[in-house]
């Protein structure tokens, strides 16, 4: 392929993406996403957040290639080495394991927890919220009361009680976090549904004979998605912090898994003399949560101009 045709095809894509008159639903959707992206790209802090999140994902995928050592390989001769030691950039822990390698592999656990919570809790919340909002009446009352009960607990305390009942472990920690984080999504989805359900286009679909299920799943849910997605991005930091908190209490991932919260928990014993063992994983958690928070703020500003400054 020559340079000329390459450039023209890129220009063609640009024209296609900025067209005022899209010729297909696909093109309209792409234009929408592209404009949203332009709004996001104008915000340097959001871009920083995106960079951090992308770095986390890359670290998780390529951990075996980048990590200098096996994250659980012990070397008691080289225990508690300070950061900057040749070969151990961030130092070693109490069993001589390389902290940098453990952090890189820990990114996988963090991402795994976040991904699992994100594909369960918002979906459940969306379902409860849209059904409650569309059905109204006693269905609405019962479902929302149910939601309020879950909101009546501090999240971490409820998660603690769940993990206490189910037993410690990363799977149960995920389940506990998911069980405690769906109510806000239900609230948001219900509020959106209440504004959507009385619009003319929903009446039109109803008159065409569409079943309530079809209306809720096919027409109401997609319109609630963008507010739920923004909320999800803003919640990811909270999910990471809760997971780390459970790990810190010894209720999440079990040793020798390099979970960041659990790493802080063992580092706590050495905090006064070997500060890096607990400090490094904390910095990792902080950076990643900050990344998600910045990205979430940016997404909210880009997708919802009303929320403004």
């Amino acid at each position: 392929m020559t340079d000329g045709s390459d450039a023209s095809s890129v220009r063609g894509l640009g024209v296609w993406l900025t067209s005022e008159t899209p010729s297909s639903p696909l093109q309209a959707r792409c234009i929408q996403i592209y404009l949203g992206w332009l709004g996001l790209a104008r915000n340097p802090l959001a871009m920083l957040g995106l960079a951090i999140v992308v770095a986390l994902i890359l670290a998780a995928i390529f951990a075996p290639l980048i990590a200098p050592y096996d994250p659980i390989a012990q070397d008691l001769q080289r225990r508690l080495l300070p950061p900057g030691t040749p070969g151990n950039l961030l130092g070693t822990d109490e069993l001589g394991r390389d902290i940098l390698s453990r952090l890189l592999y820990g990114a996988r656990i963090t991402l795994y927890v976040v991904a699992l919570v994100v594909v369960t809790a918002p979906v459940f919340g969306l379902l409860i919220g849209t059904v409650a909002g569309y059905a109204g009446g006693w269905v609405d009352t019962v479902l929302m009361r149910f939601t309020d009960v879950f909101l009546a607990f501090p999240r971490l305390v409820l998660a603690l009680a769940f993990v206490a009942a189910l037993g410690p472990g990363i799977g149960n920690a995920v389940l506990a976090i998911a069980l405690t984080s769906w109510p806000p999504y239900a609230r948001i989805a219900r509020a959106e549904t209440l504004t959507i359900r009385n619009t003319d286009f929903i009446s039109a679909i109803r008159l065409q004979g569409a079943s309530p299920l079809r209306i809720v799943v096919g027409h109401v849910m997609p319109l609630c998605l963008s507010s739920v997605i923004v909320r999800v991005t803003l919640d990811m930091a909270g999910i990471i912090l809760t997971a780390a908190g459970l790990g810190f209490l010894g209720l999440g991932a079990q040793p020798p898994l390099p979970e960041w919260g659990a790493m802080i928990s063992t580092g706590r014993l050495y905090i006064l003399d070997q500060w890096w063992v607990a400090t490094m994983p904390g910095l990792a958690i902080f950076t990643v949560s900050l990344g998600f928070n910045l990205l979430g703020d940016g997404l909210r500003d880009a997708l919802d101009p009303r929320s403004g400054r």
Binding site: D148, F248, L249, G250, G282
Partner: protein, 353 residues
């Protein structure tokens, strides 16, 4: 909008009306339903756990007859729904069972540890309010300039930092390296049990006993955990103050006040902030409730003998009565604070019917 500001609108507002009573009834019904749901959740958690509650009482080597007899005595042979009603009756009368760890009734344990959490959360809220409100006001007044960005950054850091890690780093720096504050715990060992326990809140008890030495020691113990916890309420309070202030500063009465020639200080800190105080009170109550959550992890880091420390220790030794009792207690306090914030709003803002 109200030019008179949101002060009390005469005596009439305090007399109960028919709609007021109806609303009150609805609030009580909602509250009862929420509490019932809360108990249902803890009850179900207690039933799905893999630990056999009978075995925990009779021990591994009990004979079958003893096991069955105990099971009957504990009511575990009854249908679940009957068990649930029994559970509600017990909880209402304040009976959460006996803690395996301390061999005392759970309710007594909770009464013993709760003041510690209360003390920590209160001092933390005071710090959050004292710093968060001025920070929020400054951010709103200088919207879009560096004080605004600075306050936003502080808040963002607060939302992103693991609280237990911040506590550890605080211990490392201010206790380990600088030696400015006392270490974990509520008091140094030789100050323990020096002052008689009246309220369980050491800062108050020591003042009642007139023992300044104990007071200073307690203060030096509480200041770090309370600051760590207070940072989180600061992040929340400053953000809310900022957005409330921006809303008020755009109102016409502010322009009127400025045109009248009032000083900028009086316009901002008197007029605008005065009207912001009503919604802020509810925000403060909510942040106080949220501190209960943060206090669990903070208490672990600082070995602070409060409710979070109690629940976690019970959890690690599979002491289910204590875990569930503590969880119910925290839930009740949480609901109570939410209700309180709602009520305060209704009382202080005459526009909220």
């Amino acid at each position: 909008m109200s030019l008179t500001g949101s002060r009390f609108s005469g005596r009439g507002a305090w007399l109960p009306s028919r709609t007021g009573l109806l609303k009150g009834g609805r609030v009580v019904a909602t509250l009862a339903a929420t509490l019932l749901g809360l108990l249902l959740i803890t009850f179900l958690i207690g039933r799905v756990m893999p630990i056999d509650p009978v075995l925990a009482v009779v021990g591994e080597r009990a004979t079958n007859e003893v096991y069955e007899a105990t099971r009957k005595a504990m009511g575990l042979d009854q249908p679940l729904i009957i068990q649930f009603f029994t559970y509600i009756r017990e909880v209402v009368t304040g009976n959460f069972g006996t803690s395996l760890l301390t061999s005392r009734p759970v309710i007594q344990d909770i009464a013993r540890v709760f003041p510690a959490t209360l003390e920590l959360a209160t001092v933390a809220t005071m710090i959050g309010v004292a710093l968060g409100i001025p920070a929020g006001v400054l951010a709103a007044v200088h919207q879009g300039r560096w004080p605004d960005h600075f306050v936003r950054l502080i808040g963002l850091f607060g939302y992103s930092m693991p609280i237990f890690w911040l506590g550890l780093v605080g211990l490392l720096v201010f206790y380990g390296k600088l030696d400015w504050v006392a270490g974990p715990g509520r008091l140094d060992v030789f100050f323990e049990d020096v002052v008689p326990q009246v309220t369980g809140v050491i800062l108050i008890d020591s003042l009642l006993a007139g023992d300044l030495e104990v007071f200073t020691n307690a203060l030096s113990h509480i200041i770090l955990p309370a600051s760590v916890l207070g940072y989180y309420s600061l992040a929340y309070i400053s953000r809310m103050t900022r957005s409330f202030m921006l809303e008020q500063l755009a109102q016409e009465y502010i322009t009127t006040a400025r045109v009248k020639g009032l000083s900028e200080t009086r316009v901002i800190w008197g007029h605008a902030l005065g009207n912001v105080m009503v919604p802020l009170i509810t925000v403060i109550a909510l942040s106080y409730a949220n501190l209960l959550e943060g206090s669990v992890l903070t208490e672990i880091v600082f070995a602070w003998p409060g409710i979070g420390f109690y629940i976690t220790n019970a959890l690690l030794s599979a002491d289910m009565n204590a875990v569930l009792g503590g969880t119910v207690m925290v839930g009740i306090v949480f609901i109570g604070l939410n209700l309180l914030s709602d009520l305060l709003y209704r009382v202080f803002d005459p526009r909220a019917g």
